[in-house]
């Protein structure tokens, strides 16, 4: 067995090497530049917000001191961050598996990977706001012990949130859907609490953190105890899961739900069914499905209820585009990439490209309808003035957005691992083209409605008509895409096999 002083540096060196190689192989220079700019920009925003929070808070809550604003929002902020973590943060279990056969004690592996998991953007980025905010505003209030207890509480909340997520993911494994339902209910309750003016969650948050800031230790002790509990529990859960390194997947495979389609629908029906099963039974496609549903429900509630804060025509157009077209825009880009691992299963059989494209277009167009129906009650409730826009974008998204996205998808040659998490910065399968494609997809309707802002009804009617006409000519599009796929078949097969990009 390796001694600890050699084990930890060895593991650290190996993990750094793996991370660097992964970055090099998975992302091209363009993606690295885009990601670097995005990271730097968001870091800048958080730092600025932390240092100059008073300038923001005074416009929204002119009579409330910045520290009170933050104190009463802390619980809600951490709950939201926790939800984002759950969607995107990965557990260290899979990283440990390749080391299990080596002469390294399992408890050392667990200790190392639990500690290393803290080096996450989810833990680092909140501090970019909280540390400058603490230096600028918190230290100006109350006692010195209170200042350190307050920032200590923030650190504890981050640690607790981090390990609670690891614990929860370990426990839930295949039951993520149940968690999404509970979390959605929780957020809905929080929204009702806010919208109905009850403010229970705000009062609780304010009470807890004001007491901590005043030097009262009870709240901090409770947080410390909770953090210690989740660290210990998640470590125990991880150690226990290593006794069954494949996660029990071989022994007890996931429960499978299926559905039949009428036999008369033939091969087209089979392909639509396969598309639906793909997005339901695989992690990354499912992730896109949930995010689209979340946008068209919960996020949309917040966006629509923000009223005049986001009242511009351009913003409304983007809202319309994403409310019914969010799934097509996100998921649709990889419509053929999702098939990369089994593309030979399709093209070596009697599955014509025409039928394949038809099935995928049907799924994209139906997704627009499904998201439209899901979000329509929210538009009627919160912004009835935007219902016409929502209708117009249903036709535009089904007729035009789906086609534009399909054009991009048929040119995709990068392999996608559908079993991997769809977490932050997992852009496997995406290339510079995908980012640039957003411009011709999103910009024309936004600019058009901006130009037509004096005659919005006419603008929306034109948009809807264009979409409808395109829908009528779906068979022409299908033929066009099938031709392109046939011409690029070998290049796609090579790319999907990972032999070329």
């Amino acid at each position: 067995m390796l001694p600890p002083q050699r084990t930890y540096p060895l593991l650290a060196r190996n993990q750094v090497r793996i991370s660097l190689r992964r970055m090099k192989t998975r992302q091209g220079w363009f993606m690295r530049v885009v990601m670097g700019v995005m990271l730097a920009y968001s870091a800048f925003i958080l730092l600025t917000l932390g240092f100059f929070f008073d300038r923001f808070s005074i416009t929204l809550w002119p009579d409330v001191p910045p520290v009170d604003v933050v104190n009463r929002s802390l619980l809600a902020a951490f709950i939201s961050l926790f939800f984002i973590r759950f969607l995107f943060q990965k557990t260290p279990r899979m990283k440990i598996v390749p080391y299990l056969h080596l002469p390294i004690p399992h408890h050392r592996l667990v200790t190392f990977f639990q500690a290393a998991s803290l080096l996450s953007i989810h833990n680092f980025y909140p501090l970019l706001f909280f540390v400058p905010f603490w230096m600028r505003f918190v230290v100006a209030e109350g006692s010195v012990e209170g200042h350190f207890m307050w920032i200590g509480a923030i650190f504890l909340l981050i640690v607790a949130s981090h390990f609670a997520n690891l614990l929860l993911r370990g426990v839930l494994k295949q039951r993520a859907g149940l968690f999404y339902i509970w979390m959605s209910l929780f957020i809905a309750t929080a929204f009702v609490d806010e919208a109905a003016g009850i403010g229970l969650q705000q009062s609780l948050s304010d009470f807890l953190f004001s007491r901590i800031l005043s030097g009262e230790p009870t709240g901090l002790i409770l947080l410390l105890a909770f953090s210690a509990f989740v660290v210990a529990a998640s470590t125990f859960s991880l150690a226990r899961s290593l006794r069954n390194p494949d996660g029990g997947q071989t022994a007890t495979p996931a429960r499978v739900r299926s559905f039949d389609i009428p036999e008369e629908w033939g091969l087209l029906g089979q392909l639509v069914r396969i598309e639906l099963l793909l997005m339901w039974r695989n992690r990354r496609p499912r992730h896109y499905l949930f995010v689209s549903l979340l946008f068209s429900t919960l996020y949309l509630v917040f966006m629509l209820s923000s009223g005049q804060a986001f009242g511009s025509v351009a913003f409304s157009a983007l809202l319309g585009l994403f409310a019914s077209g969010g799934f097509a825009l996100n998921y649709g880009q990889l419509m053929f990439g999702w098939d990369s691992t089994h593309y030979p299963a399709m093209v070596s059989r009697n599955v014509g490209f025409h039928t394949m494209v038809s099935a995928k277009l049907i799924v994209l167009q139906l997704s627009c309808l499904a998201l439209f129906v899901t979000s329509l009650p929210l538009f009627i409730w919160l912004r009835p003035d935007l219902v016409a826009l929502h209708f117009a974008f249903l036709f535009y998204n089904a007729g035009i957005t789906s086609v534009l996205v399909m054009e991009l998808a048929t040119r995709n040659r990068q392999r996608v691992d559908i079993g991997r998490s769809g977490g932050f910065f997992n852009y496997e399968g995406f290339s510079a083209r995908h980012w640039l494609w957003f411009i011709p997809t999103a910009l024309p309707p936004v600019l058009f409605l901006q130009v037509m802002h004096n005659a919005p009804r006419v603008g929306l009617t034109v948009l809807a008509t264009i979409g409808l006409v395109s829908l009528v000519f779906t068979s022409l599009w299908t033929r066009y895409f099938a031709g392109g796929l046939n011409a690029r078949k070998h290049a796609m097969l090579e790319g999907f096999a990972g032999r070329a990009g």
């Binding site: 071989t250 030979p344 070596s348 070998h490 097969l493």
Partner: protein, 239 residues
């Protein structure tokens, strides 16, 4: 089905992966494709199934270029590797899909699967298990089954015996022999297992470094001849 390879050349950079001036598989013929690792067997099969583009030459099935006319796909059953499986489907879902691509109804699919019950007992298997949760051997059985149950005119299998347990290998040999008895069915079976392939295939094509080195009728001496060839090749590659 009659299958011809004409002046096929495939290169990866400067390295020639396949160079076949001419090769013919007659209607009803069964050929075993043998060769060492990297000999070009899989490249041969991929070009045959139009999954890989040759730099030169063409493949014709019943006189039609496979790249220009896809009608051969409705008459061909093939399994090369796990990429031929849709791993997030269950076995019944996958087989139903394959049946549909051949225009079979659910009832017809079930009927055609019955004779293969001894090879893959679908009635006793967990129907809710996804293909990705199957062992390598069972996944291979599903792939082979999908290629055969549709009763295609042309069968292409890559290493069908590898990863199968001995009883399954014996059953598969019997199934292939039964299918080969149909005079209208052509088959090409690539394998490293010289014993199995000489038992099943009346003709053997031997590939080495992308070129056809031998093309012989199987006889009592074929296995010995092949063993001798590969022993010599092993000695020459080791030196």
């Amino acid at each position: 089905m009659r299958v011809e390879l004409n002046k096929i050349v495939k290169k990866y950079g400067a390295k020639k992966a396949l160079d076949v001036p001419a090769w013919l598989l007659e209607d009803g013929e069964v050929v075993g494709l043998v060769g060492s690792n990297g000999a070009g067997k899989t490249t041969f099969l991929r070009i045959l199934l139009d999954l890989l583009e040759a730099d030169h030459g063409n493949v014709r099935m019943d006189g039609r270029d496979v790249r220009r006319d896809a009608s051969w796909r409705a008459r061909t059953g093939s399994f090369l590797d796990r990429s031929f499986l849709i791993e997030y489907l269950t076995i019944p879902e996958y087989l139903e899909f394959v049946g549909t691509t051949f225009g079979l109804s659910r009832r017809e699919t079930a009927e055609r699967l019955e004779p293969f019950e001894s090879f893959l007992p679908l009635s006793r298997i967990d129907r809710n298990r996804l293909l990705r949760d199957l062992s390598t051997g069972n996944a291979k059985k599903v792939g082979i089954l999908a290629a055969l149950f549709v009763r295609p005119e042309f069968v292409v299998l890559d290493e069908p015996f590898a990863n199968l347990d001995p009883p399954s290998q014996i059953r598969l040999k019997q199934i292939l022999a039964d299918m080969a008895a149909d005079p209208e069915r052509s088959m090409i079976i690539s394998s490293h297992d010289l014993g199995h392939v000489t038992e099943v295939c009346p003709r053997i094509t031997l590939l080495q470094s992308g070129e056809i080195k031998r093309d012989l009728e199987t006889s009592e001496k074929t296995l010995e001849e092949l063993n001798s060839w590969f022993s010599d090749e092993g000695i020459s590659s080791a030196t």
